[in-house]
Amino acid sequence: MGMKIDIQNVRCGYKGKVVVDGFSAVLSSGGVLCLLGPNGVGKTTLFKCLLGFLPLMAGGVFVDGRDMKQFKAAEYAKVVGYVPQAHAPPFSFRVFDVVLMGRTAHLEIFAQPGPEDERIVWECLEKLEIKHLAAQVYTEISGGERQMVLIARALAQGPAFLLMDEPTSNLDFGNQARVLHTICTLAGTGLGILMTTHQPDQVFQCDADVSLLMPGYEHLSGSADDILTEETLRRAYGIDVAVLKARRREQVLRLCQPILPETRGGGRKSQVI
């Protein structure tokens, strides 16, 4: 317990083009860290580097003090689980088998998963309350369900950290909340979670830390309250944003609302004649 991923001064990008530079952040067990920023600012690139899909151009990522470059793929997979965006693979595997694939890192190269692996899969399905999906075909379930299955698959790896790529994109209002709740619950059990998102609101909802990436290799890291202000969001996204505080019974809610510029011809409501 109490592990951390230390991201130190990393630079990443593609052949000759630096996308992110001088980025630092720390992800600890039990914490949620959101990567926030406008399109094209390098969230995905950074994410790929953290998963080892792209090599770092400078700086280092240390998992519990050990440089990620020293990890073999299987070793890294046992510590860091990747949850991609819900997608449709070309083959129609059953949900149970998809989750079972998460056990690959624990298998010898020529081995097939055994009863112990299947037990762990059932556990993960149970934890996410999707046991009823086990026998269904992955390509035929809904987007929200697929996202849950992918989370279950990452959990089956038995990792200390989850890296989630826009886990709520393409989901409806209710499913977004469900997935977000799952993320908070998992963090509560001691997992450290890094997720990219396009919605500043979610940072408040998870009571998470945030790294706000801004154009020009700039980034701000800290708690949601400190970092997400009207000023910083305006600088990051180039629009006018209201950060509001609302009270509902005993709860204090914080929310971010973009303010659209006035359009010609009066208000936004259509006129009733």
Binding site: K48, L51, G52, F53, L54, K72, A73, A74, E75, Y76, A77, K78, V80, G81, Y82, P84, A88, P89, P90, F91, S92, F93, R94, D97, M101, G102, T104, A105, H106, L107, I109, F110, A111, Q112, P113, T139, R153, Q157
Partner: protein
């Protein structure tokens, strides 16, 4: 899991029965009783009648090696097709995606043109097949890195295939139209008739063991590869290494098949497909099922070729005639799988 096991057992049983029936097919008439007698004499010793001695010869020198070879080639092509389909995340891929068949054909054409022995022809075909894949891999290595590597590999495969096919045409053009040209043409049609009897069967068996065993052992990882390079890596798979091993094994299987029997199309594309309908996409069952099914299909087609006309039909023609409409049928049936 139960249904899957039944499919495997059913396929194995069908294969055994068909193999036995196949022994009776051919110009030299043999009853099942006679076959049992001859096999019994071989296994447990004992006297053979003169008629049985002849039957013994036909059975063990001609039919049995051919039947075994046919089954093994079917299994090899089907396994290699299934493996490539997983590797390229695409159920439309066939074993010659990287140019093995076209190149092996070119190799055989050259060897036939300069008048090498049948062993020489087999060897040249095999070497050209492997050479083509090395060429494709080198091209892909030079041009594509990262995400696009697979696509570059497929495109390089198309280019290399086309190049070798042109080379084959050139050989045909240069060939003497009276004897060399027909020889080359017949070779390219694919047939088990000149596959070298017992020698061919032994070669194919060793190749099947050498290339098939690693594929079977890695079949769980083929599942994981189906989710793409990044996800597979994040699940702990050394993707580059795994990819090379799979390509090496599948190439070995295809090249050996083509060099012994000429190019036999569609089997490696269709059999994994049909089996996927029966067993689902899980390679733990799919790969063995595809091998059994491929062997069974190849054997039935070859029996048909042997039985239907006296001179025997080239098997490659029949697989194409059966394969094309079958594939269209499956396209209609399982469209959504590729959506």
């Amino acid at each position: 899991m139960k249904k899957e096991r039944l499919v495997l057992i059913g396929l194995a049983a069908a294969l055994l029965i068909t193999a036995f029936v196949s022994l009776t097919i051919g110009r030299y008439a043999m009853s099942p009783g006679q076959i049992t007698a001859v096999v019994g004499a071989r296994l447990f010793g004992g006297e053979m009648r003169p008629a049985d001695t002849e039957a013994d010869l036909v059975l063990f020198i001609i039919r049995l090696p051919r039947i075994l070879l046919t089954i093994m080639v079917g299994a090899a092509l089907s396994a290699s097709g299934a493996a490539f389909q997983g590797l390229f995340k695409n159920p439309m891929v066939s074993p010659d995606i990287l140019g093995v068949s076209s190149a092996a054909g070119a190799g055989a054409a050259v060897a036939l043109l300069i008048g090498l022995s049948s062993v020489g022809v087999n060897f040249a075909a095999f070497c050209f097949g492997v050479l083509a894949v090395l060429l494709v891999l080198t091209l892909a290595q030079i041009i594509g890195r990262g995400d696009g590597a697979l696509l570059i590999m497929v495109l390089s495969g198309i280019v290399v295939s086309s190049l070798f096919r042109a080379f084959t045409s050139l050989m045909k053009y240069l060939a003497d139209a009276d004897n060399k040209l027909p020889e080359i043409t017949f070779w390219l049609m694919g047939s088990f008739a000149k596959s070298g009897g017992a020698r061919g069967a032994v070669i194919m068996l060793s190749v099947l063991v050498l290339g098939g065993t690693p594929l079977l052992a890695l079949r769980w990882r083929l599942n994981v590869l189906g989710f793409g390079e990044e996800e597979a890596q994040a699940m702990g798979v050394n993707v580059k290494q795994l990819r090379l091993v799979i390509i090496a094994c599948a190439t070995l299987l295809t090249a050996a098949s083509v060099c012994l029997c000429g190019s036999i199309e569609w089997v490696g594309l269709i059999m994994p497909h049909i089996m996927r309908l029966l067993t689902g996409p899980d390679y733990r069952v799919l790969l063995p099922a595809a091998m059994l099914g491929g062997g069974l299909f190849m054997l039935i087609v070859d029996n048909f070729c042997r039985a239907v006309i006296p001179g025997e039909l080239p098997v490659g023609i029949v697989t194409s005639i059966i394969g094309a409409p079958l594939f269209i049928y499956m396209l209609c049936k399982r469209r959504r799988e590729w959506a």
